[in-house]
Symmetry: C2
Subunit: 253 residues, 2 copies
DNA sequence: TAAACTCCTTGACCCAGATCAACCCTTGGA
DNA sequence: TCCAAGGGTTGATCTGGGTCAAGGAGTTTA
């Protein structure tokens, strides 16, 4: 019985074989050939984190880089006086850390239980030089993140509180839909992986404003809520309108 | 005489030899060896733009990528209703365009006269595959830009108008100082390359607020102005305090 | 079974920054 | 020499979202 529990735990920690990995085709290793994967397999190790746990403190020595295998984490910047701004959301397949950099620049906090696939930094950097497939994929992912960051600058700089909330919900919904690949039609249903406070940190708002605007969107029928976290979106087009990015009628990226 | 004028113009357009290029050691080509540079030289061409000219319209077909050789441009996103947010400032050595992407995602507008070193996209993409030095450098530059974008998210999301202005001036000053490598001591002097409106677009403010806060910083002796554009910073540490990023006492990145 | 948390909601009030509007200064045609 | 246009300043007023404060609802500790 104890053994079973332990083996379950290990199974949870370590997909063991990269071939079975749920993020195999989206993470930094996506482009790797079988032989390259084998090399990576030799230097990888898994780490588990619990919801609420801080994975990395800004300023800390970073002796590893990693991919998020499952769960969600946030990337946060803090000012001396305590003001904070979330600058990224880390989802399965996202990459953490920067090759060539010694110290972490942001706090990384797990918002759900999380599994990360880690590589010691030095060996990984060595491998990057020899394995262009890794660097290629990392460039692609970094360019995507840069686009996302710039998109978010528009949200932070120019959108109203209501538009901000709608934008955040739309982004989470879209990504969720892309992952689950659930049927294109019908209302989307998913759980918000963030507390109201985390949403506020992401949007540059206070948690009170977040709460009010979520209530308002619910009252206006743009979303509906089951409990505090479970969201249903009856009409994605409507939500996108509220977010201020009309254009495409709800395409799933 | 006419010939002279033309040759001057050409000289301005084209450093001709990459060895003489002012951005040789900072642009995408920074890591290239002599032979790689020769290949790049064969596919490069120069383009001039005047202050105010739009270099690229968002949504346009992009059949080239480029490095900024001299001058300054802005990267801007626009919403349907006309709200705009600047998402990047393009300075000498910065890279424009994304390998593998057909269409521009942002408007690029020259704010000063500008020279760009362009490469047709397809040949450049081919070269990237064969020349890891280019991809390596591009990855590095993209990671830097991502950091800058995230830094800016903090500015947009959490700083007050006064802090925003101070942050912008500090960034421009720092970069200017790094370029000019002028003596570390003594007050910094430089020209703001942006109109009040452009500053507002960058900071997510209105131009009136920008004007007021610039005046306030001047009145408080944080900066002094000669005309509308020429700025003197008597004490960089003080400026950084006003920007809300105390920490380092005015280090020039 | 309550006490102590954490997370969330709602109300009352206030203020930083937006909006609207008038005006200044410089530059460059005609 | 004037006038038109682009950039900048400044004042008066309004308002979205922040701040402060009270309380609800669910969940863990004891």
């Amino acid at each position: 019985m104890a053994n079973l529990a332990i083996s379950e735990k290990i199974a949870h920690c370590a997909p063991v074989d990269c071939g079975d990995c749920p993020i195999r085709h989206r993470a930094v290793c996506a482009r790797c050939e079988a032989d390259e994967l084998e090399l990576l397999e030799q230097i990888k190790y898994y780490r588990n984190f619990e919801a609420g746990q801080t994975v990395i403190w800004s300023g800390d020595q970073m002796d590893f880089v990693a991919s998020v295998v499952s769960g969600i984490a946030t990337l946060t910047q803090t000012m001396e006086d305590g003001r904070t701004q979330m600058v990224g959301l880390l989802l399965p397949s996202d990459f953490v850390g920067r090759p060539g950099r010694e110290c972490a620049t942001y706090d990384v906090v797990a918002t759900t239980d999380m599994v990360m696939c880690c590589f010691r930094r030095k060996p990984f950097e060595q491998m990057m030089i020899r394995t262009p497939h890794i660097a290629q994929r990392l460039l692609e992912m970094t360019l995507d993140e840069l686009d996302a960051a710039r998109e978010w600058m528009l949200v932070l700089g120019r959108k109203t509180a209501r538009e901000k909330i709608a934008s955040l919900i739309a982004i989470i919904a879209r990504r969720d839909a892309a992952l689950a690949m659930q049927g294109m039609r019908g209302p989307l249903v998913f759980d918000l992986p963030l507390t109201r406070e985390a949403m506020a940190d992401y949007l540059g708002l206070t948690l009170e404003t977040v709460s009010r605007q979520v209530s308002a969107l619910k009252k206006d029928g743009v979303i509906s809520l089951e409990g505090k976290r479970r969201v249903t979106i009856p009409d994605m087009g409507r939500l996108l309108e509220e977010a201020g990015d009309d254009s495409d009628g709800g395409m799933l990226a």
